[in-house]
């Protein structure tokens, strides 16, 4: 599992620094041996310890009336009413996916699903934000195909619908694709498995159930996820875990039956750092130590060393804390689902993790020293100057219709049907709105409620201004939830950045956090957890700083969900919000002008809040027929998408002092295109005026044509074809 040469001291080969070795000596009062060093290396890895990000993450707002469980547990939870908790979290599996796209993406799905299950919740939806390099490159096509097949191959086999996500493309993600996955689960609020509600006692047993433990994924967190990917990284393939979705499905059903039967005192999945992490966190959280007997761990192959058993990231395993009186019932439930169980540890007073193998003590370390006492760094930061000339005022005399077609064919904007048709979006039978909607909506069984979910992150904005990148990610994801008529409740995030040891990257990270913080406060959407993915760089070149935000909202009545597309002819089309001279960082500038430069759109969070509140209120009052967020490609692309998705054309007029291309394609924030039945226009106008949201009547829906007076005159059919064919064409599947 070494990254460095054999002449290096062991701790460095494990990825530990010299001063970290000193900290370990202090914690133990002696030198660590090899097994102990491997445990610290895993637990103090960037991936597990958040040692570079922690001081920044602490500044995020985490509390609010709806928050039941905030950061620090396997997943966050919010109260959605009627005694129901929605549990959700997002994670990254970018590093393994860069090496082995199918298994990397597949095991990412498996890992986040187990996080949700370990809270006692049934997983009900998955969303996958993905970023790749341009599809003109063969390797990027291979990565896209592998990642999408892996997500489908795993998600489709466990019966959890994949209802949404994002797929974006940019050159800096060529060597380092970004693969994030969000899972949402539902539980009875009084049945959540949290440290607060479930208190183990000394003598309680730790029961490992699910798959056996093998040599796969050893060093996953320290070798793969906490270092940059360089030439020859294929050599780290053994650090990529291998997934078995069938075992995962059994694990889900068995775990939920254990929770339902009130048979557990605690439940934790085995993910990064394997058994070491699960046992030390479970023990430390309950204030105990544990005696861990490695001979009891069912192994996939003989002769595994202690450090291998302790840090293996073999998939589809869970660790339950069980009172001895309930052990037999726990075994019976697991046997029903064909899963093996093994009592591997006993909780003991004292706080030490006391590890034995073949009659020998192989490690004895304070559990807390692995978890809460991991190092925390305040890494140096250096700001990066703003990026190039703003394209907003550059003259443009091209054809606006051609520009619109180019934008609809841009892979960021184009239809992602090729991707989402490989995902089962229907299983469980609750998907009201699936992929391709602004936000996905799934019903909460047994109620009229809907959960609305969106994931957003715009690396273009993040690269030009990481503060705005963070703030826009929150605002856009929340806006996407709001335009379905739902109320955004809370967020989870996945923060994808380069090497934190570089001051410029650390500055980008801290700026993005500051932006997210301001937006979360303004929109009343606290952070309930998330994940940081550093070291996404190769050869000194990092990915765009890409904070991805997942927003969970609730709809009181899912039947009042607003579609994105124009649902019928004869509706009035309105633009809510105000348009400014903002073309910096836009999709138009990237696709048509060929530059990613300038300042991203400004974001007035009070204005954003008013827009979102207005759309929710109007939707709740059944005033709107559709609503669609304006983002990539501005109002012209938003109108085209409304027509394509709804199958009805439009004739509108865009007025203003801005140059036509800025008017059509500028990406000013806090705007939405809505359609309204004529008899409700008065009410909408009145409400918008009362709520202080600027509005403009653009025209009407209907007919086969898409007309922006004086600028664009084409057919919905043509726009649909351009939009639908773009990605299959890039993949060589249509000519």
């Amino acid at each position: 599992m070494s990254a460095g040469s054999d002449s290096e001291p062991l701790h460095r080969r494990f990825g530990l620094r010299d001063d970290e070795l000193d900290m370990i000596r202090d914690a133990l009062g002696r030198d660590p041996d090899r097994t102990e060093l491997a445990m610290y290396a895993a637990m103090w890895s960037e991936h597990c310890s958040y040692k570079s990000s922690k001081i920044h993450l602490r500044t995020l707002p985490t509390e609010g009336p709806a928050v039941l469980v905030g950061p620090g547990q396997d997943a966050g939870a919010v109260d959605v009413g009627d005694g129901i908790a929605a549990v959700f979290k997002m994670e990254s599996h970018s590093h393994p996916s860069a090496i082995e796209p199918y298994q990397g993406a597949a095991t990412g799905v498996g890992g986040i699903v187990r996080d949700i299950v370990s809270m006692g919740a049934r997983p009900v939806a998955l969303l996958d934000p993905l970023m790749f390099g341009p599809l003109e490159d063969e390797r990027n096509r291979w990565l896209l195909e592998g990642v999408v097949a892996g997500i489908g191959g795993y998600g489709n086999c466990i019966g959890v619908p994949t209802v949404g996500g994002e797929v974006r493309f940019a050159e800096p993600h060529s060597a380092n694709p970004t693969v994030n996955v969000l899972c949402v689960g539902i539980a009875r609020a009084d049945r959540l498995m949290t440290a607060a509600t479930h208190t183990p006692s000394a003598g309680s047993l730790m029961v490992l159930y699910g798959a056996t433990t093998g040599r796969d994924g050893i060093g996953g967190v320290s070798v793969l996820a906490s270092a940059t990917i360089e030439e020859g990284s294929e050599g780290s393939r053994p650090s990529v875990q291998i997934g078995d979705p069938f075992s995962e499905k059994l694990l889900i059903e068995a775990s939920l039956e254990l929770v339902e039967g009130d048979l557990l005192e605690g439940l934790q999945d085995l993910g990064g750092a394997g058994l070491t992490c699960a046992v030390s966190e479970s023990a430390a959280r309950s204030g105990f130590g544990a005696r861990l007997d490695l001979d009891a761990v069912p192994l996939r192959e003989p002769g595994m060393e202690a450090f291998e058993i302790l840090t293996s990231e073999s998939q589809e395993r869970m660790l339950a804390i069980v009172h001895p009186s309930k052990l037999e019932r726990v075994r019976a439930v697991c046997a029903k689902w064909g899963l093996s169980t093994a009592v591997v540890a006993t909780l003991e007073p004292g706080g030490d993790l006391d590890v034995h193998l073949a009659g020998q003590q192989v490690a004895k370390v304070p559990a807390l020293s692995l978890t809460e006492k991991a190092p925390v760094y305040e890494r140096p930061m250096r700001s990066i100057p703003a990026n190039g000339d703003d394209p907003t005022f550059a003259p443009f005399d091209g054809d606006l219709g051609d520009a619109l077609r180019s934008l609809l064919a841009a892979p960021n904007v184009a239809s992602k049907r090729w991707v989402f048709e490989q995902y089962d979006r229907m299983v469980q039978g609750q998907t009201v709105a699936g992929p391709g909607s602004d936000a996905a909506v799934v019903r909460v069984p047994g109620t009229m409620k809907g959960l609305a979910l969106s994931v957003d992150g715009n690396g273009r904005y993040g690269s030009l201004d990481p503060y705005l990148g963070g703030a826009h990610a929150v605002a856009e994801a929340a806006r996407n939830v709001a335009v379905t008529g739902a109320k955004p409740l809370a967020i989870t995030n996945c923060l994808n950045f380069g090497n934190p040891e570089r001051p410029e990257v650390m500055w980008q990270f801290s700026e993005a956090i500051r932006g997210m913080r301001d937006a979360c406060l303004a929109l009343d959407t606290p952070v309930t957890g998330g994940n940081v993915s550093f070291y996404n760089e190769s050869g000194g070149s990092a990915i765009w700083p890409t904070p991805v935000v997942g927003v969970l909202g609730s709809l009181a009545d899912y039947r009042l969900r607003l579609p994105s597309g124009f649902p019928s002819p004869g509706l009035a089309v309105y633009l809510l919000g105000e348009s400014f001279a903002e073309l910096g960082g836009s999709q138009f500038a990237e696709t048509v002008l060929g530059v990613v430069a300038g300042a991203p759109p400004a974001l007035d969070l009070e204005v954003e809040r008013r827009l979102q509140d207005l759309v929710q209120e109007a939707a709740g009052g059944d005033l709107l027929a559709s609503a669609h967020d304006c983002s990539d490609g501005g109002v012209a692309v938003a109108l085209a998408e409304c027509a394509i998705l709804g199958g009805h054309g439009f004739a509108v007029t865009l007025e203003g002092d801005l140059p036509p291309h800025v008017l059509l394609f500028g990406e000013s924030a806090s705007r939405a295109v809505v359609s309204v039945a004529p008899e409700r226009e008065g009410s909408l106008r009145g409400l918008a005026a009362t709520r202080g949201v600027p509005f403009e009547r653009l025209g009407e829906t209907g007919g086969p044509r898409a007309v922006i007076d004086g600028f664009v005159d084409t057919t919905v059919e043509e726009l649909t074809e351009v939009w639908e064919q773009a990605i299959p064409r890039l993949l060589g599947e249509v000519s």
């Binding site: 019966g159 069938f246 048709e421 490989q422 039978g429 609750q430």
Partner: protein
């Protein structure tokens, strides 16, 4: 008194709850059956649901056919009891020899989840008895191994004896390669046995009964099954 339809849960079944919900939404009573329990609990009909039974290792449906409940289902089918296999359930019926042919990897080599149009080819089954032949139903598919194949002689026999129940088609009922989502031979989406009581199809009618979450092409099929069961049970 409503029709009691058993839905088998194998390890790895995924659409079992969905099938029960569909039965109940259409006025029947869904009865969960367990793969290891060799007992049908007096149900009037059986559904083998979609999913990945036993992980679909070896071949899709190849292990499920040895489940204890399958012995009972074979007897139930031999006595004329209605058995409906959906997706993985269809694969299990083929592997069990209750239906001819086999289902192999989609021609695209990719999983596909999409709403398709199906043309109803025969009324000689419990689920199509009340559906006019030629009717076009909108129903989703979601599978990676749904390409129906059989030898030419078997295919001819299926055609000649009216055992093709559904074909993939366009919006106006036209059967062509353009509307064939998986490369199935002769556009076959579902078939029946000689007696007509055993039906397998790749599309998912249980995901096409609730208008709030999808199309409604499955309603007619469940309605037909339930009324058929009630008529023969009396």
């Amino acid at each position: 008194m409503s029709a009691r339809i058993g839905v088998v849960t194998f390890p790895g079944s995924l659409d079992d709850r969905d099938a029960i919900r569909a039965v109940e939404l259409m006025g029947g009573q869904g009865v969960p059956l367990w793969h290891a329990d060799p007992e049908l609990h007096g149900v009037d009909g059986v559904i083998l649901p979609g999913g990945f039974s036993y992980g679909d290792y070896l071949r899709c449906g190849a292990i499920a056919r040895f489940a204890p409940v399958m012995e009972e289902i074979r007897g139930f089918a031999a006595r004329g009891g209605p058995v409906l296999g959906i997706c993985n359930g269809f694969q299990i019926l083929c592997e069990s020899g209750l239906l001819p042919g086999a289902l192999i990897r989609n021609r695209s080599l990719r999983f596909v989840c999409r709403i398709v149009s199906l043309r109803v080819e025969t009324t000689q089954t419990p689920i199509t008895a009340d559906v006019p032949p030629g009717e076009i139903l909108e129903i989703p598919i979601k599978h990676g191994e749904g390409q129906f194949v059989a030898g030419e002689a078997d295919l001819d026999r299926l055609e000649d004896e009216g055992m093709v129940v559904f074909r993939y088609c366009g919006p106006d009922g036209e059967v062509s390669e353009d509307h064939n989502p998986n490369g199935a031979l002769r556009g076959i989406a579902g078939i029946r046995n000689e007696a007509g009581n055993v039906v397998g199809l790749m599309p998912h009618p249980e995901h096409a009964v609730d208008p709030d979450v999808g199309p409604t092409g499955g309603q007619a099929l469940f309605a037909s099954l339930l009324s058929h069961v009630m008529a023969t049970a009396r």
